[in-house]
C-alpha cells in the first residue's frame, strides 16, 4: 500500500516537474474542420462573389426602378427609414467579407514574386471593393481597415474620402503597371475573366475611368487627369470584355445570382403577380419612361400577370406609384414586375462594369473635350447599342432584334444642345442601359443630376422629400468605434442621408 501511494506521488511529481501535463494539448487544439494555410485562389473566388453580391437593394427604389406599398420594403423610394439595417449593408458586409478576404489574398501572394500577376489582379479587385463602400458612405476606414488580425487594429481610423480616392487610384495604376505576360495568373478561380491579363487590364482602366469621372464635382482637374490616363491605357469597348460573373440555376445559394435571389425571395417567388411578401413592383417612373420611349427592353424586363400567367404585352405594362400608404392596393396584380425569364433567373449574370457604361463615360469625356478620337454622339450611340445587346447575356428571352435596336437607337440619338442637355440625355440613357446596377446609376445621378428624377414627398419621410445623397454608417459604429466615428462625422457632417460627402461637394 505504501507502494501505491509512492507510485501515485511519482506520477504527480512527473507531471509537475517534467511539465508533461499538457501532452497532446497542442494537437487537441487544432480545428479538425479547418486548414491552417490559405488557398489564395479559393479565397479570391469568394471575394469576387462577395463583392459583386454586396449591394443596397433599396437603391432600386431610390433610382425609381421599383417600389412597394410596404413602408419598410420601400424605404429607398419613400425616403423613410425606421427599422432594420438596410442602409448599412454594403458597409457592414464589405469589411468582414470581400475586403478581409482580398486583404488575406494580397498578404499571401505578396510573399511570392512568381505570383505577381495574381497579386496585381487582387489589388485591382481590392480597389473595386473599397470604391463600392466609399462611394456610398464618404469617409471610411481604409488605411487601417481589415487589420484586426494582422495588426490588432480594433478601432480603425476613418480616412477622408479624398485621401481614399487618391490612394485607390495610385494603387490601381501601380497594379496595372505590374502585369507580366511571362508569369502565371488565376485560372478558373477568377470568375470574371478566367485570369485573362488583357481583359483585366481593360477592367482596371475602365475602373479608373469610372473613378475618374466620379470626381468631376469636387476636383475636375484630377478627374481629367485620371480619365485621360484610363483612356490611354485602354478601356472596355467590346462586349467580350464586359466584366461579369455568371451563376448557376441551382445548388448552393452562393453560386446563384444574388440580385435575382433577393428579388425572388422577397417578392416574386410565387410568380402569380399577387402573392408577394414585401409588396414589390416596378416603379411608375421607370415603366412610364420605357413605354414613352418605346424601349424594346420593356418586354424583356417586365411582365404583368393576367389570370396567373405572365404577359409581356407592352400595352398593359404599368408601374406602381411610390406613395401608397402601407396598404396593399386592390389592383396590385395589375402592376408590372420583373420577368422571371430574364432578370429573375438565378443563373442570370451580374454585370460589374459594362461596355455600355464605359461608352457613356467616354461620351461625357468627349463632351468635356478630354477625349477626341470619337464624337460624343457616336460614343453615346455605341453605349446605347451595347446597353440593348447586353440583355442577350440573360438568355434567349433577353435577345432584342437588330431591327428593334436600330429603330430605338435612331429615335434616341443624341440631340444637339448645350453640355447640360447632352449630359441629361447621356445619363438618362445610362439609367435605362445600366439597369439593374442601381448603385452606379445613383452615383452618376448624384454627380450629374440625371436622370432628372422627381423626388417623392411621402408622409413621414426623413429627408424633407429629398432624394438620398449617401447611405448611413451602421448604427453599431457609434458604439463600437465611437471616437473615430465622431471624428468622421465631425469632419464630413451629420450621419444622415443628405450630408454631401466629398464626391458630392
Amino acid at each position: 500500500m505504501k507502494n501505491t501511494l509512492y507510485k501515485f506521488g511519482i506520477g504527480l511529481l512527473t507531471c509537475l516537474v517534467l511539465q508533461s501535463c499538457d501532452k497532446g494539448f497542442e494537437d487537441l487544439n487544432v480545428n479538425p474542420d479547418a486548414s491552417s494555410t490559405i488557398n489564395a485562389d479559393f479565397v479570391f473566388t469568394k471575394a469576387q462573389y462577395d463583392a459583386v453580391g454586396n449591394m443596397i437593394t433599396g437603391l432600386q427604389g431610390t433610382m425609381q426602378y421599383t417600389t412597394s406599398y410596404n413602408d419598410v420594403a420601400s424605404w429607398g423610394s419613400k425616403y423613410i427609414f425606421n427599422q432594420g439595417t438596410a442602409p448599412y449593408t454594403v458597409f457592414s458586409n464589405a469589411y468582414v467579407n470581400e475586403i478581409n478576404e482580398i486583404e488575406e489574398v494580397v498578404r499571401s501572394l505578396e510573399k511570392d514574386p512568381a505570383q505577381s500577376n495574381k497579386l496585381a489582379i487582387a489589388k485591382i479587385w481590392r480597389v473595386y471593393c473599397y470604391s463600392k463602400v466609399t462611394d456610398l458612405y464618404g469617409d471610411i476606414p481604409y488605411k487601417q481597415a481589415a487589420q484586426g488580425y494582422v495588426n490588432s487594429v480594433f478601432k480603425p481610423v476613418y480616412d477622408p474620402q479624398q485621401a481614399v480616392y487618391a490612394d485607390m487610384l495610385a494603387q490601381l495604376e501601380s497594379a496595372l503597371g505590374s502585369f507580366d505576360a511571362s508569369k502565371g495568373t488565376f485560372g478558373a478561380a477568377d470568375l470574371v475573366y478566367g485570369g485573362d491579363l488583357t481583359k483585366w487590364k481593360k477592367f482596371g482602366y475602365s475602373l479608373m475611368l469610372r473613378m475618374g469621372m466620379r470626381m468631376t464635382k469636387p476636383d475636375v482637374a484630377s478627374a481629367e487627369t485620371w480619365v485621360k490616363k484610363a483612356i490611354a491605357g485602354g478601356v472596355i469597348q467590346d462586349d467580350a470584355d464586359i466584366a461579369k460573373i455568371t451563376y448557376l440555376a441551382s445548388g448552393q445559394i452562393v453560386n446563384q445570382n444574388p440580385l435575382s435571389y433577393w428579388m425572388l425571395n422577397s417578392d416574386y417567388l410565387k410568380a402569380d403577380g399577387n402573392s408577394n411578401p414585401e409588396g414589390g413592383k416596378y416603379h411608375e417612373t421607370f415603366i412610364n419612361y420605357l413605354k414613352a420611349t418605346a424601349d424594346p427592353r420593356l418586354p424583356v424586363l417586365s411582365v404583368v400577370y393576367v389570370n396567373g400567367k405572365p404577359s409581356t404585352d407592352v400595352s398593359i405594362q404599368k408601374g406602381m406609384k411610390a406613395n401608397i400608404p402601407n396598404t396593399k392596393p386592390s389592383d396590385f396584380v395589375t402592376y408590372s414586375e420583373p420577368n422571371q425569364n430574364t432578370i429573375l433567373k438565378l443563373n442570370a449574370p451580374m454585370l460589374i462594369l459594362t461596355n455600355a457604361e464605359t461608352e457613356f463615360y467616354l461620351a461625357e469625356a468627349a463632351l468635356r473635350g478630354w477625349y477626341t478620337t470619337e464624337t460624343a454622339a457616336a460614343l453615346y450611340e455605341k453605349g446605347t447599342r451595347a446597353g440593348l445587346r447586353q440583355w442577350s447575356l440573360y438568355g434567349a428571352d433577353g435577345a432584342i432584334s437588330q431591327t428593334a435596336m436600330d429603330t430605338y437607337v435612331k429615335a434616341m440619338a443624341l440631340k444637339a444642345g448645350s453640355f447640360e442637355q447632352q449630359m441629361e440625355q447621356i445619363y438618362t440613357q445610362f439609367w435605362v442601359s445600366v439597369f439593374p446596377n442601381s448603385q452606379e446609376v445613383f452615383l452618376n445621378w448624384r454627380r450629374t443630376g440625371y436622370p432628372a428624377l422627381v423626388p417623392n414627398n411621402y408622409v413621414g419621410n426623413i429627408t424633407g422629400g429629398k432624394i438620398f445623397r449617401r447611405m448611413l454608417y451602421p448604427a453599431t459604429e457609434e458604439n463600437l468605434n465611437a471616437e473615430n466615428y465622431y471624428e468622421a462625422v465631425g469632419r464630413q457632417g451629420a450621419d444622415n442621408f443628405l450630408t454631401p460627402i466629398w464626391l458630392d461637394k
Binding site: 501511494l5 473566388t45 469568394k46 453560386n255 458604439n479 463600437l480
Partner: protein
C-alpha cells in the same frame, strides 16, 4: 392505545414486534416514555434507544414516544441522536422513563458538503456555504430546478426565463465575474462536474426564426433525486474545482439508499397549472385602424391588422382581417384567449434498500408538461440508480447512473417577428379578437395574412404549421472506488461521464407568407464531459489537540462537442419536410475538443475544534491556450475561529465564529481554436471557396485569467439559537479576463478574443434566521437573506474603454461594459434637451433631436433579497417566500412595437385634435409643431430612436412561493402500510407585489446568456398553482 410502533420500515417493525412478543412473557419489563428536545420541549422523533450492553433497541415515533422491552432488570438505556449529547439513564425499576436531550455544543454545527463531495463541519469552514435541502424543490416545483433557488440564498441571483417548460436557467453568484464569459457556476453531482451547456448556444437577444431556448443541463435534473444542494459561493470554496469554479459551484448531492429490511418506496406526485402573470395595460380608447379611421374593407382590416390608430371606440361596425363585420369594441382578452392554461404532471417513484454492505436507491420519474402556448409540450423521463457498497473492510464503491430523455415539441421562439408566436396576441389591433385569425391557414395550407408585414407571422399559423422538435438523450455515469490503506489514509479514484446527444429540427413550413417555399434547420449534437480523478486523503491527530487532514489529487478533464448543422431553403415538394427535399442544403460541422489537466492539494488543520486553517493549491493546464501560456498555479488560504468555544461570551450568545479567506482561481477561454488563424471551405456548387474560419479574431497571446476573492464573515447564534446571523463581506476581482467582444466590422472581423484589465465585484451578504415561536404544536421560523453586489469595470484594454456585449432588435439599445461603470450597462439615446429642460427639435424632420449614445442604467440588479416564513401547527405547515430584486433597468422591445402600433397609453396624446409639441430648435428658438391626428402613427414610430422612452426600472418584489402542507397522520393510513404521507397546496410566482413595468413582467428575459436587460416579446411569464402528494411506504 399508545401501542403504536415506531415509524420504521415494515419488515424491521415486524421484527421488533416479534422480539417484543417473544420476550414479554419471560421478562415482563416494558418501559415506555417520551424523548423531548431540550431547546423547545418538542417530542423528538427518530431518537435511537439502546439497552446498554445489548443489541436490543428501538427508536422514537413521530411524537417522540417509545416503548422498549428490557432483557435485564438492572438495565441502563442509552438515548442518542445526531447533534445531541447522548444520555445514559438507569431504569431503576421504573416503567416510564422520559428524557430530555440536550444539543451538543461541540456538535452544534451541521455537516455540509463541500468541494469534491467532502463533508465538513460547518464551523470549520473559512467561507460561506449555503445548503438547501432537496425537499425544498420537490413540493412547489420548477421544471428547471435551478430556478427554484431564486430568493433562497444570499448572493445567488437566479433568473427563470420566460421560455416555457424545458427552458434554461441563469444563476449568477456574487455578480458577473467575467465580462463576456457565461458567468454561470459549475454544476457538480456527487463531487464530479456535469455539463450545463445549452446545445447550439443560448438564444440571442435579437434572433429571428428558430431562436428557441433549447434548454440547459440543469433542465434534465429531477428534483426528487436531490438530497441537498450546496452553493459554494467564494473562490476558496471553489478553489479545488479549478478554473470553471471561478463563478462558484453548485454541488448537488443525490439521494442514496438506506440499509433496511425489505424495500422502501417513496412516491411523489405533483400537478401544477399555470397561467399568464401579467396582462399589458394597453389603451382601449381608440380602436384598430389607421389615420384615425377604422377599417371598412378586408384590405384595410389586414393592412391595419396590428395598428390601433383608428377612431374612438364606439361600438359601431368595422371590418376585421377576416373580412367579417364586427362591432368596434375593445377586445381585452387576446392574451387569455390565445394562450391556454399550462399543465404539468410530475410523478416520481423511488425504491431503496440494502444491508450494511450495500445500499441502493432507484428512482423513475416522469414529467409531462403542456405550455401555456397551445401545442407546446415538454416531456422528461428520468431513471436514477445510486449504489453504495463495501467490499471488505478496506474497499468501498459508489456508483451513480442516470438516464434522462427529454423531448420538446413546438418550443416558442422570440426576438424578431418571423415565426414568433407571441407576436400576434400582443400586437393585434385592440378591437380585433385574435380568435378571428384561426386556424391561421387556408385550404391550400398557406398562412392567412393578418397585417401589412408578412414577417410578423400569424400566431395560429405558427402554432399549427411551424414544427419544432427536439430530443435529448442523456446519460450520467459515475463510479468511485475508495481504498483504505490505513485507518487514516485512503485513496479514491473516480471516473465520471456526462454524455448527451441532442436532435433539433425546426421547420419553417411551406405556405409561410414571408418565405413561401419554407426553410429547414436541423442540428445534431453530441457532447461529453469526462473527468477522471484520483485523490489521496490522510488524517492524523498530532499531540492530542491538533488535527491534520491532507489531500492530494489529480484530475483529467476531456470535453467534446460535436455538432452538425443542416440548413436548407425551399422545399421542392411542398409540405414534405425532409432534408432530402430542398433546393439547397448547407452542412456545417463543429467539432470542439478541450482538455484540462490538473493537480491539486489541500491541507486542513484544526486546533481543539476551536481554530481551523485550510490551504489549497491547484495547477491547471489548458488545451485551449498556446503552450507558452497554458498553465497557471493558484492558491487559497482560509481560517475560522470559534470564539464561543475559546472564550466565555455573554449567555445570550450561543455561538460565535469569525472566518476569513483569500483565494485565487485561474481560468482559460472556454472555446478551443481561439489562438490561431485558420481557413475553412465554404460549400459551393461551382469553384471551390474558402474563407477565414472565424469571424472572431484569434489571439495566440491569450493567457489564463485570474479571479481573486477575499471574504470575511461572522456566524452568530443568540437566545438559545432562536436568532441567527450570518454576515459576509467579499471582494472579488477578475484580472486578465478573457473576453470575446464585439468589434467594428471594419477591422475585418466582428469580434476578438483578448485579455482585458480588471473587473471587480464587491458585496455584502446577510442571512438572518429567527424562530419567534418554538412551541410543541406551533412553530414559526423566519429566514431573511439579502445581498448587495457592487460590480465595476476597473480597466479594459489600452485604447478601449467600452465593450459592446449585446444589441437589441433594431439596435435600439445596447448592453455595454464601460470602464468605471458596472458590468452590463444599458446604453442608448435620449431626446436632447436644452439647459432649461426643453426638448430640442430638428425643424427639417419635425422630430426631437436624438442624443449620442450614453449610459442609461444597469442591466443586472445589484440588490437582491428573499424572505421565507414557515409556520407549523400540528400536522399543518405553511410557508411562503418573498423575493425581491432592485436597481436594474429593462429595455422593452415589445413596447417599441406597441408604441408603433398605437397600443401604449402614451400614444393617446393627440388622437382627437392632433399632437402639438413644443420645444426649441438647435439654435434655441422656440419651436412648436402640430402633427395631424392622421399622421400620428409615423410620428410615434420615430420614438424608437429614443431608448429612454422604453426603458423601465426592473425592480420587483414577488410572492415567489407558497406551500400549505398537511401531514396525514400515519395511523389513518396504516391499513395501506404507509409510513408517512403529506398533501400540499403549492404555488409559484403567485403575485407581484411591486413592479414598475406596466406591460410586462420585469423578469421577462429570453436568454440565459450574459446579456440581461432586454425584454423581447417572449412567452409571457406565468404563475402556477398545484397539488403535491408525498407518500412513503
Amino acid at each position: 392505545m399508545k401501542h403504536r410502533l415506531p415509524c420504521w420500515p415494515n419488515g424491521f417493525g415486524r421484527l421488533l414486534t416479534a422480539l417484543w412478543l417473544l420476550s414479554a412473557p419471560v421478562l415482563a419489563q416494558t418501559i415506555t416514555g417520551r424523548v423531548n428536545s431540550g431547546s423547545d420541549n418538542q417530542g423528538m422523533p427518530g431518537v435511537t434507544i439502546l439497552e446498554k450492553g445489548t443489541t436490543n433497541g428501538t427508536v422514537t415515533d413521530s411524537e417522540g414516544k417509545y416503548r422498549i422491552a428490557l432483557s435485564g432488570k438492572g438495565a441502563t438505556l442509552v438515548f442518542s441522536f445526531i447533534g445531541y449529547t447522548a444520555q445514559e439513564v438507569a431504569v431503576n425499576g421504573r416503567t416510564t422513563v422520559d428524557v430530555q436531550l440536550k444539543e451538543d455544543a461541540t456538535q452544534l454545527n451541521e455537516v455540509v458538503v463541500t468541494a469534491l463531495g467532502i463533508a465538513k463541519e460547518k464551523k470549520a469552514l473559512a467561507y460561506s456555504v449555503t445548503e438547501v435541502k432537496g425537499s425544498e424543490f420537490t413540493q412547489a416545483r420548477e421544471n428547471n430546478v435551478a430556478n427554484a433557488l431564486s430568493g433562497k440564498i444570499a448572493g445567488v441571483n437566479a433568473t427563470g426565463l420566460s421560455t416555457g417548460p424545458g427552458g434554461s436557467s441563469r444563476i449568477i453568484i456574487r455578480g458577473n465575474g467575467s465580462l463576456t464569459g457565461a458567468n454561470q457556476p459549475l454544476y457538480v453531482i456527487n463531487g464530479m462536474p456535469i455539463d450545463n451547456t445549452t446545445p447550439g448556444g443560448s438564444a440571442t437577444t435579437n434572433g429571428g426564426q428558430g431562436n428557441v431556448d433549447r434548454g440547459d443541463g440543469m433542465a434534465g435534473i429531477n428534483p426528487d433525486d436531490i438530497e441537498s444542494i450546496s452553493v459554494l459561493k467564494g473562490g476558496t470554496a471553489a478553489a479545488l474545482y479549478g478554473s470553471r469554479a471561478a463563478n462558484g459551484v453548485i454541488l448537488i448531492t443525490t439521494k442514496k439508499g438506506r440499509a433496511q429490511k425489505g424495500i422502501g418506496v417513496d412516491f411523489n406526485s405533483t400537478f401544477t397549472a399555470e397561467d399568464i402573470a401579467v396582462i399589458p395595460d394597453w389603451q382601449y380608447e381608440y380602436g384598430q385602424g389607421d389615420m384615425a379611421r377604422k377599417p371598412t374593407t378586408q384590405a384595410e382590416g389586414i393592412a391595419w391588422g396590428r395598428r390601433s390608430w383608428g377612431q374612438k371606440i364606439d361600438g359601431s361596425d368595422f371590418v376585421g382581417a377576416d373580412g367579417k363585420t364586427h362591432p368596434y369594441v375593445a377586445q381585452k382578452k387576446n392574451l387569455q384567449n390565445f394562450y391556454q392554461v399550462g399543465k404539468t404532471f410530475t410523478n416520481t417513484i423511488a425504491f431503496n434498500g440494502g444491508n450494511e454492505n450495500i445500499t441502493y436507491r432507484f428512482s423513475l420519474s416522469d414529467l409531462n408538461a403542456q405550455s401555456i402556448l397551445p401545442g407546446t409540450t415538454y416531456k422528461r423521463k428520468t431513471g436514477n440508480l445510486n449504489i453504495n457498497g463495501a467490499f471488505g473492510p478496506r474497499i468501498t464503491v459508489e456508483a451513480l447512473a442516470q438516464y434522462t430523455l427529454e423531448t420538446g415539441h413546438n418550443k416558442t421562439g422570440a426576438g424578431d417577428a418571423l415565426g414568433n408566436p407571441n407576436w400576434t396576441p400582443y400586437m393585434i389591433g385592440n378591437t380585433s379578437d385574435i380568435r378571428w385569425l384561426k386556424p391561421g391557414y387556408d385550404a391550400n395550407g398557406t398562412e392567412i395574412a393578418w397585417n401589412d408585414a408578412p414577417i410578423a407571422s400569424n400566431s395560429y399559423f405558427v402554432i399549427n404549421k411551424y414544427k419544432e422538435d427536439d430530443s435529448k438523450n442523456r446519460f450520467i455515469g459515475q463510479v468511485g472506488l475508495r481504498y483504505k490503506i490505513l485507518e487514516n489514509l485512503s485513496v479514491k479514484g473516480t471516473v465520471s461521464q456526462d454524455f448527451y446527444n441532442y436532435n433539433f429540427r425546426y421547420i419553417l413550413p411551406t405556405g409561410t407568407l414571408y418565405v413561401p417555399n419554407g426553410q429547414f434547420t436541423q442540428m445534431k449534437t453530441d457532447v461529453s464531459e469526462t473527468n477522471a480523478m484520483l485523490t489521496a486523503n490522510y488524517n492524523v491527530t498530532i499531540a492530542k489537540d491538533f488535527g491534520l487532514s491532507a489531500l492530494l489529487g489529480a484530475n483529467s478533464r476531456k470535453y467534446n462537442y460535436n455538432q452538425l448543422n443542416l440548413f436548407g431553403n425551399s422545399f421542392t415538394i411542398p409540405f414534405f419536410y425532409s432534408s432530402t427535399n430542398l433546393a439547397n442544403l448547407t452542412t456545417t460541422p463543429t467539432n470542439q475538443r478541450i482538455g484540462t489537466n490538473s493537480v491539486f492539494g489541500s491541507l486542513d488543520l484544526d486546533y481543539k475544534g476551536i481554530a481551523f486553517l485550510t490551504m489549497t493549491g491547484r495547477q491547471d493546464w489548458f488545451s485551449t491556450l498556446s503552450p507558452k501560456n497554458n498553465t497557471i498555479f493558484y492558491p487559497s488560504i482560509g481560517g475560522s475561529f470559534v470564539l464561543s468555544q475559546a472564550v466565555n461570551l455573554p449567555r445570550v450568545i450561543d455561538f460565535a465564529k469569525v472566518r476569513a479567506s483569500w483565494a485565487q482561481v485561474g481560468g482559460a477561454t472556454p472555446d478551443p481554436y481561439a489562438i490561431n488563424l485558420s481557413y475553412s471551405m465554404v460549400p459551393s456548387s461551382g469553384q471551390p471557396l474558402q474563407n477565414v474560419s472565424s469571424s472572431a479574431i484569434t489571439n495566440a497571446n491569450l493567457k489564463p485569467l485570474t479571479s481573486t476573492t477575499y471574504e470575511v464573515g461572522v456566524d452568530l447564534q443568540f437566545l438559545n439559537r432562536r436568532l441567527g446571523l450570518d454576515l459576509t463581506y467579499y471582494n472579488r476581482a477578475t484580472t486578465n479576463d478573457i473576453v470575446q467582444t464585439s468589434i467594428t466590422p471594419t477591422s475585418g472581423y466582428t469580434s476578438v478574443y483578448m485579455n482585458v484589465g480588471k473587473l471587480s465585484n464587491k458585496g455584502i451578504e446577510a442571512l438572518v434566521t429567527v424562530a419567534p415561536v418554538k412551541g410543541r404544536d406551533f412553530g414559526w421560523n423566519v429566514s431573511y437573506n439579502m445581498a448587495y453586489n457592487d460590480s465595476k469595470v476597473i480597466k479594459l484594454a489600452d485604447g478601449i474603454n467600452s465593450l459592446q456585449m449585446a444589441t437589441s432588435v433594431g439596435n435600439w439599445a445596447y448592453i455595454n461594459s464601460i470602464q468605471g461603470r458596472s458590468y452590463g450597462t444599458i446604453v442608448g439615446t435620449t431626446r436632447v434637451r436644452d439647459a432649461a429642460g426643453n426638448i430640442v427639435y430638428d425643424p427639417t424632420t419635425g422630430y426631437a433631436v436624438k442624443s449620442d449614445l450614453h449610459e442609461l442604467g444597469r442591466g443586472v440588479p445589484p440588490l437582491t433579497m428573499g424572505l421565507t416564513n414557515e409556520f407549523r401547527y400540528k400536522n399543518f405547515s405553511f410557508s411562503f417566500l418573498l423575493d425581491g430584486k432592485f436597481g436594474n433597468k429593462v429595455f422593452s422591445v415589445m413596447e417599441v412595437y406597441a408604441n408603433r402600433m398605437g397600443k401604449l397609453k402614451r400614444t393617446l396624446d393627440g388622437r382627437e385634435n392632433g399632437l402639438t409639441v413644443t420645444g426649441v430648435t438647435r439654435s434655441g428658438d422656440a419651436y412648436t409643431n402640430t402633427i395631424a391626428k392622421e399622421n400620428l402613427r409615423t410620428y410615434y414610430d420615430n420614438d424608437k430612436n429614443y431608448t429612454e422612452l422604453f426603458l423601465h426600472d426592473g425592480s420587483f418584489v414577488k410572492l415567489r412561493q407558497a406551500i400549505l402542507s398537511y401531514a396525514i397522520p400515519a395511523q389513518y393510513l396504516r391499513f395501506a402500510k404507509v409510513q408517512s404521507a403529506s398533501l400540499s397546496l403549492v404555488s409559484r410566482n403567485i403575485l407581484t407585489l411591486y413592479k414598475r413595468t406596466d406591460n410586462f413582467d420585469p423578469e421577462q428575459s429570453f436568454t440565459n446568456s450574459s446579456n440581461q436587460g432586454f425584454e423581447s416579446l417572449g412567452l409571457p411569464r406565468t404563475r402556477s398553482y398545484g397539488l403535491n402528494l408525498i407518500v412513503k411506504f
